[in-house]
């Protein structure tokens, strides 16, 4: 079964694009800062603890913005 061609919802697409763009910026910034923290604390015992918040923040961005986890309890999507 194929879906018939229908008009593009440009308003909805623009909104989704903006949301994806915000997620992308956050991921890029957090990845770069994470790498910077790694180099700054390369010989420190606290490196792992310092990096954990960045890992968790990136994981949550992917889960929330890209995977729409909140749709599971009906808040999104």
């Amino acid at each position: 079964m194929t879906t018939a061609e229908v008009a593009i919802d440009r308003v909805g697409l623009k909104k989704a694009k903006r949301k994806g763009f915000v997620g992308a910026i956050w991921l890029a910034v957090l990845t770069l800062v994470e790498f910077g923290v790694y180099f700054a604390l390369i010989h420190s015992d606290y490196r792992t603890i310092a990096l954990i918040p960045f890992v968790l923040a990136k994981a949550w961005i992917i889960l929330d913005i890209f995977m729409h986890i909140r749709a599971l309890w009906g808040e999104d999507h």
Partner: protein, 190 residues
């Protein structure tokens, strides 16, 4: 008899289907988390946070950036088909597949370097090959899924009313990205 009819109607209710499918996929993803969790904990159990000096940090950062970018293009592909922009859906899906292939190229290079400096017979090497191998397998299956939705999308399937195929594959691709967000610091940064 009445109960059976009600049950059949319940399953024929189209409003029920996307939510049930989505929940099923999340349960699958949740079960995959245990698999990755076991492999990640094995790394810390066997070698703690030890890292060999020969790890190629630049390559790892580069392929991490490529995989994160592929997740964004996958998101855009999903959004495009959801709002009926088939042309963009095709473009973003192709871009995602292309970036996934670049990531795999980087992984092959990583594994080649790993065999020279920390082969699987070493404690770190065994964790490294297990984690990278498990993740690479998921990337390959994700690429396979993306190729299928690209083929079906090209034939006119999917649209704003029926995009579960795309949503499912893209969600899986994001999970592959999510797993890498944890694997990358585990092997390279911590």
């Amino acid at each position: 008899m009445v109960a059976e009819t009600a049950h059949a109607e319940y399953h024929q209710d189209m409003a029920f289907q996307p939510r049930a499918r989505r929940l099923g996929l999340w349960m699958f993803i949740f079960s995959e988390c245990f698999l990755f969790g076991a492999f990640l904990s094995a790394r810390y159990f066997t070698t703690g946070t030890f890292r060999p000096d020969e790890l190629n940090q630049e390559l790892a950062l580069l392929i991490t950036a490529v995989l994160l970018l592929s997740s964004i293009s996958a998101y855009m592909a999903e959004a495009s088909i959801k709002f009926n922009d088939r042309r963009r859906f095709m473009l973003f899906t192709i871009a995602t597949i292309f970036m996934g292939l670049i990531f795999m190229g980087g992984v092959v290079l990583e594994l080649y370097e790993a065999t020279l400096h920390y082969p699987p017979s070493t404690p770190f090497g065994s964790s490294y090959f297990m984690l990278i191998g498990l993740h690479a397998f998921h990337v390959v299956t994700g690429l396979f899924g993306l190729t299928i939705v690209l083929y079906l999308g090209r034939k006119g399937h999917f649209g704003s009313e029926d995009n579960w195929g795309v949503e499912g594959v893209v969600k899986y691709w994001h999970f592959v990205d999510l797993a890498w967000v944890l694997i990358y610091p585990t092997l390279y940064l911590f």
